[in-house]
Symmetry: C2
Subunit: 287 residues, 2 copies
């Protein structure tokens, strides 16, 4: 039997938990709830475990961002290791590392993130070109979300001029022979999400920027929706992690996650945009 791919694993988790919600595990020591007194790497690992345990039936993926762990040195990366181990095996781990490098270095990154750190999918930067992505794409059972359009003001500097973001989307749509490429598309710009969907009709999207960053979940999901299972996953970080800074933080995170889950489920188009078939086979709306 062929190994399940990342996108199959994602689609199953989405169906099982009736959820498009990915929870971003981006914990900063100074932002931890008050019960965490030490605010060190071991507190980060304990906090993440509590968040994962409180939300594992509500999320379709977890996305730790490498930067928050690297910032705490070797101890921080041990906390990342523990965090990934705490994520149930049937929920995929998207390791948000935005890697991009050439030749042997790209191979080392791919081998490390997938085989050693245990990522089901990673995020990558397209700047240096398609050959820098190839070592990741050779892992057919894993996923590679490539930066396309981001939700920060700096998107105006290089992504938008000459429609670089759409050229990235088209180039990756062409390159997706193994069906393991996705795009990172900021959720704050619904009209542009639709542009990307037109440029890459068949690629799955990872949408960050909902919640603290102010993106409208509904418009984003509608604009991004595609035919493929796992075509949309929406990341929320701080609005879930820090729903309460007090002892009830895990319960509050659960409530916030469930609220997001419902909003996202409601945003799923009732008929698939292009095929005009009912979507129930892919994903059952929240009840």
């Amino acid at each position: 039997m062929a190994k399940r791919t990342y996108f199959e694993k994602l689609a199953r988790a989405q169906k099982r938990n009736k959820s498009l919600l990915c929870i971003g595990l981006d914990p900063a020591p100074e932002a931890l709830p008050t019960p965490f007194k030490k605010r060190d790497a071991s507190d980060i690992a304990r906090f993440n475990r509590a968040i994962i345990e409180a939300t594992a039936d509500l999320a379709c993926a977890y996305k730790p961002n490498w930067g928050f762990y690297e910032a705490l040195g070797v101890e921080g990366l041990k906390a990342l290791e523990k965090t990934i181990q705490a994520i149930p095996g049937n929920i995929p781990v998207i390791l948000d590392a935005k890697r991009g490098d050439i030749g042997n270095t790209a191979k080392a990154y791919a081998r490390g993130l997938f085989e050693v750190w245990g990522a089901d999918a990673v995020t990558l930067s397209p700047y240096m070109g398609l050959d820098t992505l190839e070592p990741f794409l050779e892992y057919e059972d894993r996923g590679a979300y490539v930066l396309c359009l981001t939700s920060n003001p700096g998107a105006e500097d290089f992504e938008l001029p000459n429609r670089l973001y759409l050229r990235v989307a088209r180039a990756l749509a062409e390159r997706d022979s193994r069906r393991n490429i996705g795009l990172v598309v900021g959720a704050t710009q619904p009209r542009r999400i639709q542009n990307v969907r037109k440029a890459a009709p068949d690629l799955p999207f990872l949408l960050p920027g909902v919640g603290s960053q102010g993106g409208s979940a509904e418009a984003a999901v509608r604009g991004a929706w595609g035919d493929r299972p796992g075509s949309v996953v929406v990341n929320v970080s701080r609005s879930v992690l820090y729903a309460s800074k007090e002892r009830d933080f895990a319960q509050a995170a659960r409530q916030a996650a469930d609220d997001f889950r419902h909003v996202l489920q409601q945003a799923i188009p009732r008929t698939c945009s292009r095929s005009e078939k009912p979507c129930e086979s892919e994903l059952t709306p929240a009840t």
Copy 2:
């Protein structure tokens, strides 16, 4: 007294060692010389220490690439920590991590790489825009080399069309009010190096791609040369690290480094290209 900046530290090391050579510490376990039997992270740290001890009077900087350490998990990153500690304090460490992320994440990366991991300078990706670089630039005494034109075939995909690489160069030249920005410019394309030098007359360049990647050192240095101290640093990795696979590996690395050092010194223009003043005050040619 103001703290010495990265580029001042680099220029001093270049003058002291009469060298433009940066040695890339990119060790893969399978490539280690035969005396390293275990080929694990501790061997990597021992190998790096031997290379550093053999070349510390010939190099102006060392550049460990994060990917090779990350690939070995937490133990690999401990080897990176030990490697950085083994580099003499008067030779700058360029941590080649090609980071690029938004807001709080970028801040975490900058704090981590500079304050926790001990980098004097880092490499960054410009794709997501100038605001993603700002948290690094706020460290006025450190350096940020931003990817501009790279030496891999994939440069044709996004860097070259619409001259993105020149727009990146111009945008960063404008942004360099703190004089702590440099550009990564692949050494394999001398004519294009000259284009970047015109677009960013005053920015220092980090030139990878010499040695294994086949770039001509001489043409690259001439094209890249600028008026500022530290305006050019040339990275060589494998051709130094693996000059011999036998017991004499450190001695062979020293010889290879010295050969590169001489070639690079010979390539320094005898008069500064724009100011037409002799360059001796900046850097004394090899004798």
